[in-house]
Amino acid sequence: MEIIANFSGGLGTVLQPQTLLYCFIGVFLGTFIGVLPGIGSMAAIAMILPLSFYLEPTVAIVMIAGVYYGAEYGGSIASILMNIPGTPSSSITCIDGYPMARQGRAGVALFITSIASFGGGIIGMIVMAVLSPGLAKLALQFGPAEYFSVIFLGLIAASAVSNGGALRGIAMVMAGLMLSTVGIDLTTGDLRFTLGVPELRDGVHLVIVAMGLFGVGELIASIKANQTGRGRQEIDYTKFYPTRREWRASFGPIWRGGLIGSFFGALPGTGQTVAAAVGYAVEKKVSKNKDQFGQGAVEGVAVPESANNSATQTAFIPTLTLGVPGSASMAMVIGALMIHGITPGPRILTEHPELFWGLVASFLVGNIMLLVLNIPLIGMWVRLLQIPYKLMYPAIIVLICIGVYSLNNNVFDIWMTLLFGIAGYLMRLYRFEPAPLLIGFVLGPMMEEQLRRALLLSRGDAMVFLERPISGGLLAVSALILAYGLWTTLRKSRAPKTAHSNNKTSSNTGASS
């Protein structure tokens, strides 16, 4: 029972006053940002990153993780009360959460959300604790070919399961890969695609792309969608406690959602949104209560919340054990660790056990904090949401500009962010998902480096990717996912168009936040 010993060691780390305090700051800030529509955990992490430089690495990572899953929690509050997804992944929660609110069961929906998120988080935590050591051991054997194939699998998964269909997803991943080649070629030192602009020599910064596509792009889209402003409905959120039947109905979905979420969270390239969407679809198929879905079914709230929260925990598995970030947020986590001189990879468990197990244990502590925090604070979050958009959106834009400017103290970066914002809005208009683009952008440089290295070592023989068993296996799985994705896209385009999900502000998939 080595895991239990390790876990209690991690718990000892987390229960120190300083770690507890920053864990609390993380989950609180995450919830706050999550409640606000338009910006997700990505923006929140970008804002607290400079603060983390001054903390012990374990404390820093516990805080960043808290922001990450706290935002998932907060996102669901706006979804349920106002039908506005605070984060892309909580858009699924709108489907049944908002109808519940209109039926006067908002308190119950929020309560179920808290319980489901907690349950999903704990399932994700257990999966991480159990799987990581084995994966790290396996990864010690990984060479460039294996790393390339893992990343390839992630990119295929990100594009194949995106909402717009596999072809659009692949197009977006390719656009992300192309964007990532801008700047100095790391193996030769040549300048690539800088168009003679000195600011582009270092490439485009991840925060600029992410803030532009998601932050600014989402804001422009919301302004258009919400010109009238949401009705300030009189929702009774004082009745919290679910009925016995509702308790029973949510138990199964929490389990299934947690496991589905764990899988998609751990797969690089997919994330909370895919997890929530797949979880919902599966639940709709297995539930005895099918016709209630979309009209305020308690299962429809429990599943996506459990799935997206467990996915936020398991997203740390590839990030820490392989050094392969599954999303833009995870890339920032790697950046934060690198600042502290810790290189994520298979050795992190043996070289920095206190960090790894401290993080795992912090999931338990942080989720309990969220549970305790959220129930009494719901009233405050609701008031926050009633701030008129004409005041809130300019404030968010200012925050984004400050965050981007502080990267390099360069105004050029702000213009770039606005440019990406417009691009993000156009992509939404034409139903192209920005999430696969971002994941291609994040994984592109790593993929290129490993590809070139693998080919150098094999003296140019591309068969090396198929001949090495792990690499070949990963590529075979990629081929299956790709085939499935194309098949469903094809089938959908032939079948008559059916009514899709019922909310228009949220077309994002993937590991955006």
């Binding site: 010690l140 030769t188 030192g189 020599r201 270092d202 600042i339 001189g341 810790i342 290295r453 150098l456």
Partner: protein, 327 residues
């Protein structure tokens, strides 16, 4: 005020770096020079010598002198990404970098076009010390001497990992190839940490890296250092022979220093210099530097600047001979 004017006049007189006397610096007391945290840019990802030195400095600048400092890794293109970045920053002493061979003595020869001028775009403030790289092989390869390595490399194709194109480990690898008349396969990485990870995973046959940093691997029996490219054996690891004593005249030493953008006020530069030397003199720091294989020598700012200037010419033939030039 009068004091600083006099000092500036003195600096102007002795600017040719002839004076090794710490003329201006005698007036500076070690201590914090900025209210803002100082950014120490590192040319490689975390884990290498430059990175460890930067973190050591940052820690003790804060602990002993109350000067907050943050380490900022900006790897890529053999250190030129970091140097280019630093050259463009404000010369107020809040951005410094760990200067080393990569951007200052190798890149000027390696690249036809450099986005910065190694001397004119920088203030070379303080010399820290030098260490030497060596050749590492797998224990089960049976290779224990340079001669055996030559035999093995002639019999089979051998790959080696380096910290990047134009890095000191790459130059050493090419210098070894040229002087031993063998041909090995170069695989560049971004820094030594990922190269060592691949060496451990069995992807690479050999790698070149700073010897002292890898003492753990040697002790654990994970790697054998068959030669160090220093002029004499490193006192901390007397068991590792030099290339020289095995009959191959290969000496490549890696120096590190503290450098900022051009035009740092001489008064601030003197303060940084004195504070850095004071940090290096701390017993704890001296021990760590020794663990890193770095031999420290106190040089004045002028002497350090002169040293960087001559290094380009010292390395030029080495780099050209290694065939790294181009691109």
């Amino acid at each position: 005020m009068t004091l600083s004017l006099t000092r500036r006049a003195l600096m102007a007189l002795t600017s040719a770096a002839v004076f090794a006397l710490p003329a201006g610096q005698a007036l500076a007391e070690p201590g914090a020079w900025s209210d803002e945290p100082v950014r120490i840019v590192v040319t490689f990802p975390p884990g290498g010598t430059s990175d460890l030195v930067a973190r050591l400095l940052a820690k003790h600048l804060d602990e002993s002198f109350g000067q907050k400092a943050v380490v900022d890794n900006r790897p890529g293109a053999a250190g030129t990404v970091a140097a280019d970045f630093v050259a463009d920053q404000d010369a107020d002493g809040t951005t410094l970098m760990i200067a080393n061979n990569a951007p200052f003595t190798i890149a000027p020869t390696q690249f036809e076009e450099l986005p910065y001028a190694p001397m004119n775009d920088f203030t070379h403030v303080a010399y820290i010390g030098a260490s030497a790289p060596g050749l590492f092989v797998k224990p089960d390869s049976g290779i224990t001497t340079v001669s055996e390595f030559v035999e093995a490399a002639k019999a089979n194709s051998i790959s080696y990992g380096s910290s990047g194109v134009g890095s000191i480990s790459h130059i050493l690898g090419e210098a070894v190839d040229a002087s031993l008349h063998v041909e090995t396969l170069h695989i560049p990485y971004q820094g030594s940490a990922p190269a060592i990870q691949d060496f451990r995973a069995g992807v690479l046959d050999t790698f070149y890296d700073m010897v002292a940093q890898n003492s753990d691997m040697i002790e654990d029996g994970e790697a054998v250092a068959i030669a160090i490219a220093a002029s004499a054996r490193f006192p901390g690891m007397p068991d590792v022979p030099t290339f020289k004593e095995q009959g191959f005249d290969i000496v490549i030493e890696n120096w590190v220093g503290l450098t900022g953008p051009a035009g740092i006020d001489p008064e601030i530069a003197a303060k940084i210099h004195e504070t850095t030397l004071a940090v290096l003199a701390l017993p704890e720091v001296a021990t760590t530097l020794n663990d890193l294989g770095i031999t420290h020598q106190p040089l004045s700012t002028e002497a350090f600047t002169g040293f960087v200037g001559t290094q380009i010419d010292v390395w030029k033939p080495l780099i050209t001979a290694a065939g790294v030039k181009g691109k």
